[in-house]
Symmetry: C2
Subunit: 302 residues, 2 copies
């Protein structure tokens, strides 16, 4: 079934120990939709400037992403520049130019409003709430956020979290949001804030799903080559939401399996810079890694 | 089947954010044997001084650990004092008095020499080799080591690793031993040094088993209360070796399941200081957490 993502489409300038890529395609909605398109029809809501090249638009079209909601505004496209430490344990933001993204007013084309699955990528919680309110019906809604909003817009964020079905954040953000250091305690505290499902991402160590009284752990898919972590979290989200939307419903088994799809999809993204690897990703390649993943975690599967 | 462990029995002085415990029972062979005794008969080879109290000896007897190989020497028992950072990500050694452990010559009682399972806890690799050579038959042998021996006794250590079936080390040690930063590359490089099985421990993030061409991931068992990480690695080893010895043989399914037993057993240890929690640990309690663990990692198990 159809899946809408609201987020950013951007130019990135990224440096890691494996090199530097200037003004390449980036943004949460880009990573999310390129991944999810392998598993479900996906529709993007985002804004770009008049400097955004047709070449990049074509990349979305090649992945069969619906871009009716990708608005072009006068001005420059959102630009982010960052550099990762050699061991990938930290990154430094060197430049952030919001440009047209600073006035982003995410309006959904009418046909998007009835989508049964919605992902609110990391944007201002007031905008996430606005999108949520504009939806018809009762979609399954997942959202992401970041330290900035936890620190500056906590009230709006808590209002949002109460209304979504699933929240996905990293371990540092979970600690900040809950005030708990122990990651299990942090997760339990956030569950009480409202969302039925919580995913805490732990980078190279995988992710934890909190659902009612239980937990589900998934490791990061093991890689010998790893070039650029940018977009890993959004690709994880694209994987799990794409799988859920592809199934057309949510239950305990589907949400657990969706975690494996998330981990698998993120592993393709980080193998190369920008969305390079995702441009040729196929459902078969995803399923092949999914089968390996099951073997890596299930002692009864030999 | 019977399982021999060669390692240390010590006095520890440990401080964490939850308090300080002075001159409590510690040492790799203590943690290992207390855990393993729930899953298999276990025999200890270690040395203590004449200051080692009967009260602590009784704790081993209560756990049905065979202490014929626990030698008492004139002098003081090995003493270690350390303090953990509040977030448990680092620890500082404040004092190490080897005492009688400095002249440790691990001699196995004859009846120990035919044991089919042997764990060489972290001692000098030359001593580990000596014990290995004194065994009759063809036991399944696992060993641990540490940064110190990788830095100062690499040749002896490599000679040992070539001869054991399983090596267990932490991620930092794996990087040091292999010269590879990527943990998967590090593991693959160490596999080439000889051991059929390699376990890389990652603390609160669990552990990875490397076996021939595949991998198996296990998370740390999730805990709301966590007081003292001392002995977690040795308890992990006690859990996996105890399970393997209890099964009486090794195959892919058994070694994978043994990883879950390792993670589960370590979780009991860290819930309290020293070996407090292990004194009353039962096979039923271990199996109960094992069942939860399967639920935490297997998407097909609901």
């Amino acid at each position: 079934m159809s899946l809408v993502v609201v987020g950013s489409v951007a130019f990135d300038d990224v440096e890691t120990r494996y090199g530097r890529k200037k003004k390449v395609l980036g943004g949460s909605a880009s990573y999310f939709s390129f991944v999810a398109s392998n598993l479900s029809p996906v529709k993007v809501v985002a804004v770009v400037g008049d400097d955004f090249p047709q070449e990049y638009i074509s990349l979305f079209e090649n992945r069969k992403v619906d871009i009716e909601g990708l608005v072009r505004k006068k001005g420059k496209t959102f630009f982010w520049r960052g550099k990762y430490s050699d061991d990938f344990t930290s990154r430094q933001t060197l430049q952030t130019d919001l440009n047209v993204f600073s006035g982003f007013n995410p309006l959904l084309p009418d046909i998007y409003k009835s989508a049964p699955f919605l992902f609110l990528a990391n944007i201002h919680p007031a905008l996430q709430l606005q999108v949520l309110k504009s939806m018809n019906g009762n979609p399954f809604v997942a959202c992401d956020t970041m330290n900035l909003w936890i620190n500056t817009e906590k009230e709006k964020l808590l209002e949002l979290i109460k209304k979504v079905d699933l929240l996905t954040i990293n371990d540092e953000e979970a600690r900040l949001l809950s005030g708990e250091f122990n990651i299990i305690k942090a997760g339990k505290a956030i569950q009480k804030m409202g969302p039925e499902y919580l995913i805490i991402k732990r980078g190279e160590y995988g992710a934890i799903l909190f659902l009612s009284e239980t937990l589900f752990f998934v490791p990061a898919f093991p890689l010998l080559d790893f070039k650029d972590p940018t977009g890993a979290g959004d690709s994880f989200a694209g994987g799990f939401m794409g799988y859920i939307a592809g199934q057309g419903k949510v239950n305990e088994k589907i949400i657990k399996k969706s975690m494996l799809y998330g981990a698998v999809c993120a592993s393709f993204t980080v193998e190369d810079f920008s969305l390079e690897r995702l441009q040729t990703l196929s459902p078969q390649q995803i399923n092949s890694r999914y089968d390996k993943m099951i073997n890596y975690i299930n002692p009864n599967y030999i």
